[in-house]
């Protein structure tokens, strides 16, 4: 979580300095979801996610250098600089994006799960998406397919209470998201998304149930983003006091408070972790900056697969 937090703080600097461009969506405040969900999945499980995915990518094990390089548009980035912040991919880690169309990843995740099922693999496909995605037909269609075909699919809804500037109760008639998912026949429950251990436990339990053949599961991970929707967002639509209230449940604080009480964690140990992470990210960023850029002559690569002929 500390790593994700510091990574994102660097992103702010890189964006302000003009080194990173485009739309950048930070997950500061939502680190417990990244660390908890990805921490509970195995390397064979597949992951599909959204444009707010730096945390998911790092927690999946994609090196920080590779993510930085992607955001800097370098050929050494995990999507060769063609995707940027919103489209991180690493198929070697079964990390299938990085989707920019809200809810667009959901049916794709159902297909990954279907393929595993058809091949008799015991893997889980985990699809991460926001509360806003539940308003799209794609959610309805995927939930129905998953339940109908009994797919090994974990629908992990990162409910941060806002879809851009639209609050949950102004986008959904039924704001109990788990209840809605249950109406499709999915096993569904809500989880404190600010508590990384609670998230990890819930995902581990869900994944076990899915592997045991209990069918698809929907988890509502209740969390909050401390920053604006994207670097472009002036954040006019919510009360500053509300943000401050949620910051009292900062997931890093929640965990460190518990570890102080239960494991004797002290300030010195915390400072050491922070320093270690900071040094790691310094090196990662340095290396990322040294990465080359894709030559313009290669613009038309990856439109078709090499084996299929050229464009």
């Amino acid at each position: 979580m500390v790593r994700i937090r510091q990574f994102e703080e660097r992103c702010v600097e890189l964006y302000s300095g003009g080194e990173v461009r485009g739309f950048v969506h930070l997950c500061i405040g939502e680190e417990a979801v990244s660390a908890g969900v990805l921490g509970a999945l195995g390397p064979e499980d597949a992951v599909v996610t959204t444009y707010r995915e730096h945390g998911h990518a790092l927690a999946r094990g994609i090196p920080a250098e590779s993510v930085f390089a992607e955001m800097l548009g370098r050929v050494t980035g995990c999507s060769r600089g063609r995707g940027g912040s919103m489209h991180l991919f690493d198929v070697s880690r079964r990390f299938y994006g990085g989707h920019g169309i809200v809810a667009g990843g959901l049916p794709v995740a159902a297909g990954l799960a279907l393929a595993d099922r058809m091949r008799g693999q015991e893997h889980v496909t985990c699809c991460l998406f926001g509360d806003g995605a539940l308003a799209e037909g794609e959610f309805h269609e995927t939930a129905n397919l998953a339940a109908l075909w009994d797919l090994p699919l974990l629908l992990a809804c990162e409910n941060n209470l806002y879809a851009m500037g639209t609050a949950l109760n102004r986008e959904h008639a039924q704001t109990d998201l788990a209840a809605r998912a249950a109406s499709y026949g999915l096993v569904a429950w809500g989880v404190d998304g600010m508590d990384v251990l609670a998230v990890e436990r819930a995902v581990a339990r869900a994944a076990r149930a899915i592997r045991d053949g209990a069918g698809p599961v929907f988890l509502e991970l209740r969390t909050y983003r401390f920053r604006a929707h994207s670097m472009y967002d002036p954040d006019r639509y919510r009360d500053k006091a509300e943000v401050e209230r949620w910051k009292e449940r900062d997931p890093i604080q929640v965990l460190s408070t518990r570890m102080r009480a239960e494991d004797g964690l002290d300030d010195k140990a915390i400072a050491e972790v922070e320093k270690e992470v900071s040094e790691e990210l310094d090196t990662a960023l340095d290396h990322a900056r040294q990465g080359g850029t894709e030559p313009v002559e290669d613009l038309l690569r990856f439109v078709y697969s090499p084996a299929e002929g050229s464009s």
């Binding site: 739309f23 999507s79 600089g81 940027g84 919103m86 489209h87 920019g100 986008e171």
Partner: protein, 333 residues
Amino acid sequence: MTGVGARQAGSMSYREAMREAMREALAADDRVFLMGEDVGRYGGAFGVSLGLVEEFGPERVRDTPLSESGFVGAGIGAAIAGLRPIVEVMTVNFSLLALDQILNNAATLLHMSGGQVAVPLVIRMTTGAGRQLAAQHSHSLEAFYAHIPGIRVLAPATVADARWMLAPALADPDPVIVFEHGSLYNGTDSTADEPGPVDLGSAVVRRPGADLSLITYGGSLGKALTAAEQLAAQDEVDAEVVDLRSLRPLDDATVIGSVRRTHRAVIVDEGWRTGGLSAEVAARITEQAFYDLDAPVERVCGAEVPVPYAAQLEQAALPQVPDIVAAALRAVG
């Protein structure tokens, strides 16, 4: 006039012009309402509707959930029932979720019902690349919509067109789609003082010239004008610049008239080349003015690739001024 409208027209940005057009429409006709994702409290994803919810209230400046097919379809229903909805879809990329409603309902109901069900709906959306937003936020899919009979497709390229196209679009009894290139919003230009509603079906000559016709629209107009100035200064080539303005219907008379005068045509389109608008315009020129041509029709289009994030690749994927100049020189050469 209030707010932005009280300002000197000449200092108005494209964004403000579009906002002023909506304010005027909302004030003039209580059948008009605006709906879309984050158009209200947030002020519009690109800030176009900023302040309108305070002025007209959340009934008439209506935030919708992330449900493009749902709220575009609801716009169709409200239009049929006698209202005059302006539906904002954040970008053309996301409009594909509503393409079924636009094509199978909005564009089709009048014909299918034997003339009974007209759909007086206006849909606004951004389009285009240039801001390093990568493939899913950068495409120019105007040609997809220009393909569909039953709708009108507009591409205001100037501040004046942003200001004055909306009223006639709302007065049109049929569905109209307005494409706003994302890179235009902050811009101001010399057209800002041009007064009054525009004739929706007509293209305009933005720069007269004798040697060739640069035919373009939307976000590429500025590049074509710059290319024309360079051609005049460096190569003594006098290029006429035609702004299509309406992508459906296409104004054949203006385009063909220009080509008949200049005998050469270069079409500039940020969209893809294959099956795109440039192909349609080129085909019409060969159909109607083949014997007037002194050179093959040239096209400068977006590269046939999903738009990449990295700056140098994105710029290489888009039509640029030197590409236009080079195509023009080939045509006159």
